[in-house]
């Protein structure tokens, strides 16, 4: 049974929630910098403006990749929120990332090329961890289906009538995933490929050659992505829904804090540290889980 309602809700509500989160992001960053910041609806104004602007392209086909990127993100998020196979969600995320990167390569300027390359390095950096996270969830719940993982599986411990959330079985993976989320949200210290902030060494990096509707679609895709990522954070606490939402928002604020505190790392450091974290926290967690079985 495919839960059509979930998919529909995701399709319609995720951009709204994602946009609001993006606005919240800018306000919180501003307040941390002793500024006032834009109104919370600012991202919607931005996308609306972009939609009305002329679309300039360097190569005629570059926006096609972005359309597929957006479609893949929506499909993946739909899969996740309809409770489907988590591995397929991970592969779908990768597929979406690949199309975004290919679109950036199509931009054919030095800035977009290097931005695309760095985006690719970022994907390589976080990919092992998210795969191990899915595997860890399987080992803890014996299922890859998100719907069943949300219930923490049949063997989850119960305390005072409530099922213990997954995070108690997967603490290393949770922390490792948080590290990778900083990369996926494109925040310092890992905003190597395209930062939302003002000038950076690559102009706009991967998004340099996009404008008008192409850029609007990228922005919307990022909103859908944010909701998906935070949804995955929520999954670790899914048996206690209120706590789950609170933690997801807290993680979001934490990522913004890290963004404002740290300077950007070089890609070598980003890659090495991400893989080290994956091995120690992610693989370590899996080793412990397999020993305990």
């Amino acid at each position: 049974m495919i839960p059509w309602l979930n998919i529909l809700l995701y399709l319609l509500l995720a951009p709204v929630v994602g946009g609001l989160l993006s606005g919240l992001d800018r306000i919180i960053s501003a307040r941390m910098q002793s500024r006032q910041g834009p109104p919370i609806l600012q991202p919607f104004y931005d996308v609306s403006k972009l939609w009305q602007k002329q679309t300039l392209v360097v190569r005629s086909s570059q926006n096609f990749f972005i359309v597929v990127f957006l479609a893949a993100v929506i499909f993946t998020g739909g899969l996740f929120f309809s409770g489907s196979d988590l591995l397929l969600v991970v592969f779908g995320m990768t597929l979406a990332a690949v199309f975004f990167i290919m679109g950036a390569f199509k931009g054919s300027s030095p800035f977009s090329f290097i931005g695309a390359q760095r985006e690719l390095i970022q994907v390589m950096a976080y990919e092992p961890m998210i795969l191990l996270a899915a595997i860890g969830m399987y080992m803890a719940t014996r299922s890859f289906q998100v719907a069943e993982i949300a219930g923490a599986g049949d063997h989850a411990a119960k305390v005072a009538g409530h099922t213990l959330p997954l995070v108690f079985a997967l603490p290393g993976i949770f922390l490792g995933l948080l590290y990778m989320l900083i990369i996926k949200f494109r925040k310092s210290p890992f905003d190597l490929s395209s930062s939302h902030h003002a000038h950076q060494e690559l102009v706009r990096g991967a998004t340099t050659e996009f404008s008008g509707r192409g850029l609007a679609l990228i922005e919307i895709a990022h909103w859908y992505e944010s909701v998906l990522f935070l949804g995955w954070v929520y999954l670790f606490f899914a048996t206690l829904p209120v706590l789950g939402i609170a933690v997801a928002l807290l993680v979001f604020v934490l990522i913004i804090l890290v963004d404002n505190v740290f300077a950007r790392l070089k890609w070598q450091a980003a890659l090495k540290s991400a893989w080290l974290v994956t091995l120690l926290l992610g693989f370590g967690n899996i080793v412990v889980l397999s020993l305990l079985r």
Partner: protein, 152 residues
């Protein structure tokens, strides 16, 4: 659709400025003035920008660059000339290498005088540019284009 006036992204270019106006422009981004309240973002990428903020006068080196950047901006776009040098050439107007203000090269919509232009004036200039921008959006919707260099 909404958003035309509420999301002005700008690209700032120093044509041959002494950096005085540039410093004042960047000061607008700091907490004291905080133009992000108005949704203004300094993008540094012409393809992402609506407002072309130019300081300094035109010389042979910046002549082509101004045209290139202007051309790479998607429609609709406005140009704000910040500082006396950008408006008319300022005290360097008679120099052998200075052609004059920015309007010698591209159409300018708002002139912000001052040497250096004050942040309040710059913000005011950008806000006025927004009004011009809104007109251009409306014109574009009706299918008439005001810009001479559209689609180049």
């Amino acid at each position: 659709m909404f958003g035309a006036k509420k999301s002005p992204w700008l690209i700032h270019y120093d044509a041959s400025s002494c950096n005085g106006c540039d410093i004042e422009t960047l000061a607008c981004l700091t907490p004291v003035y905080d133009v992000e309240r108005l949704g203004i973002v300094n993008t540094g990428n012409p393809k992402h920008a609506d407002i072309f903020l130019v300081t300094g006068a035109v010389n042979p080196q910046s002549h082509d660059v101004i045209i290139n950047i202007y051309r790479e901006m998607p429609e609709p776009k406005v140009v704000v000339a910040v500082g006396t040098c950008a408006c008319t050439g300022g005290i360097f107007k008679e120099c052998y290498n200075v052609s004059g203000g920015i309007d010698k090269v591209i159409p300018v919509d708002v002139y912000v005088p001052g040497c250096a232009a004050r942040p309040e004036a710059i913000i005011d200039g950008v806000v006025r540019a927004l009004a011009v921008l809104e007109q251009k959006y409306n014109a574009r919707k009706k299918g008439v284009s005001h810009d001479a260099t559209a689609n180049t």
